[in-house]
Symmetry: C2
Subunit: 201 residues, 2 copies
């Protein structure tokens, strides 16, 4: 009874070919110009086939949001593992976050610009939770080593993430064409400030 398996495999292939074509189009024209019809054209199938494999356009975007957070989590995790000093970890993770955003502008724009992650959405996407956990883990360690081990990790986590996202956002509207070299200092500056409020001894 390998037929069912083959069918499942073919279905999976179709799904990923849709995503592949969509990704190509996004890289060419940006999210704003991605349409179901263009995807259908690219894979040389009719439009309803897309809807046979995905509930709607949002579901396709969600898939990329997942991918984005997965990649981001990976990059941040690698940065964390480069050192054992928790303050260094926070700095390197911040830089990894920024590097990810600018190396994958399309991903980042979708994850925070178009996807508009609502409250329940964030909680329901596994990959987002996984990312949160990665940051929170380091924050917790930092707080435990600090002079204020009773500090609220939720608060510090939100502060940290906010700073990173803010930096990326503001730098992105500054034009991705010629990024100001001082942006590196802005990042260091902001994270240094954050670390100082942690009271690491």
């Amino acid at each position: 009874m390998g037929i069912a398996e083959r069918k499942l495999r073919q279905k999976e292939e179709m799904k990923s070919s849709i995503l592949e074509a969509a990704w190509k189009l996004v890289q060419q024209d940006g999210w704003q110009f991605l349409s179901i019809r263009k995807i259908a054209d690219a894979i040389e199938y009719s439009v309803p086939v897309i809807y046979y494999h995905f509930e709607n356009k949002e579901a396709i975007l969600l898939e990329f949001t997942r991918e984005g957070f997965q990649l981001l989590t990976q990059k941040v995790g690698e940065a964390r593992d480069e050192t054992d000093q928790v303050d260094q970890q926070l700095m390197r993770m911040g830089k990894a976050y920024r590097d990810f955003a600018f190396a994958n502008v399309e991903y980042y724009q979708l994850m925070f610009g178009l996807g508009i992650p609502t409250c329940d959405m964030v909680n329901s996407i596994e990959e987002v939770k996984s990312f949160s956990d990665t940051l929170t883990g380091v924050i917790k360690t930092a707080i435990a080593q600090s002079r204020t081990p009773d500090a609220d990790y939720w608060l510090k986590f939100h502060t940290y993430w906010s700073i990173l996202h803010g930096l990326v956002s503001i730098q992105m509207i500054g034009g991705q064409a010629n990024p100001d070299p001082r942006n590196e200092l802005v990042l260091q500056d902001a994270i240094t400030g954050f670390i100082s409020t942690l009271g690491l001894s």
Copy 2:
């Protein structure tokens, strides 16, 4: 020769009636559901009339972006004038920024979400420059009073704005329904960290 003046006045009235209708629709349904046809319906004119007064939809959105930045600048300026202590100013301006964002979610979403202010756009919008100047003014004063009066004000300005925008953004995706009361602490925490890096004596 009051005819030309009356015509200009009528043109201006039509323009503001378009904006008024658009704003009503946005408050009802959100930016995503604003359409030229709905505006035309609301003002009881045909569609091309909109295009007679505005180059395109983006021009209408730009008008609101301007309004938004104008209001934001005003609110932040008022907060600045509440105190003479520059560190207090930075804190109050930050809170005013946050308050503006949540009291005018539609504005803020347009200003940073949909409008997608590109580099040249930011530089060309007078209201944005005015806002930048307000923040930069306080930052410059703060630096002058600090132990490092040669610090780069551009850098500090960007850091400050990034922190504020990041806080607002991350808090907004957390759901505007029931804002976590700890968000107040997150804000204080982040700005405190920023102020500490300024080295105010």
